[in-house]
Subunit: 136 residues, 2 copies
């Protein structure tokens, strides 16, 4: 339970790597995949999701590849994770309160809500910039 999937792990590895590259040089997906040791086809799907919401910018054709969509300090770990895993919902009743009404009011609900807030708070407090800096 409560475990990041491979997809999420790969997503972080990939975008952190990209964030650590020179800003003006587009990165080939295949190069990123090799560098962070992720199946290229899988990473492609992940970067497509990033691209849709603007976390990265993509360029097709010769000389194409990927650039970070915004400065690394403006991208939080929460955004990266939610981009590929969907919203952080420790229990489905938090996502869909309607399903919580099994027998009136559910007193566990506020606890899960609190868990959700804490997780989001931690992940939101970390930017790609910080993740890159330490590794240099």
């Amino acid at each position: 339970m409560m475990e990041l999937t491979r997809k999420g792990e790969y997503a972080i590895r990939g975008i952190v790597y990209l964030a650590g590259r020179p800003l003006d040089k587009v990165c080939l997906l295949s190069d990123i995949a090799t560098a962070v040791d992720v199946p290229p086809t899988f990473l492609a799907k992940i970067f497509q999701q990033f691209s849709k919401i603007g976390l990265v910018k993509s360029f097709r054709g010769t000389g194409g590849g990927f650039l970070l969509g915004r400065p690394a300090e403006n991208i939080t770990l929460l955004e990266v994770v939610e981009a590929v895993e969907g919203p952080i919902v420790p229990n489905r009743c938090v996502a869909a309160p309607a399903e919580c009404e099994r027998s009136g009011y559910c007193n566990v609900h506020p606890v899960w809500r609190q868990v959700q807030l804490e997780i989001k708070s931690v992940l939101e407090g970390v930017s790609l910039r910080e993740l890159v800096e330490n590794s240099k």
Copy 2:
């Protein structure tokens, strides 16, 4: 990602119900299952896990059933969840740091560690007593 499974949800429902029953009367599994709307065979597995670690006491045969293993105020939501879901590990690198050594030191690791602490902290702060009281 990060979502409680049905098993965890059922586990909470079941033991909270038990905690709300008179202390000295053993509860039939079938009655609990009916009350909290969970498949009886599935709930049986869950209560077996509870029993092994003493969260509940079980009695076989005629007049048998289940009792809470300790006073409700001494059982935390964390214990209940971990009993059936295993330890709270938001990323496998937190459970097995060895796998984190992909390329030297992983700078995301401390973040997941922090997430783990926060989740555990919230769940540890809630006892079955509190969950029962509100519902009355």
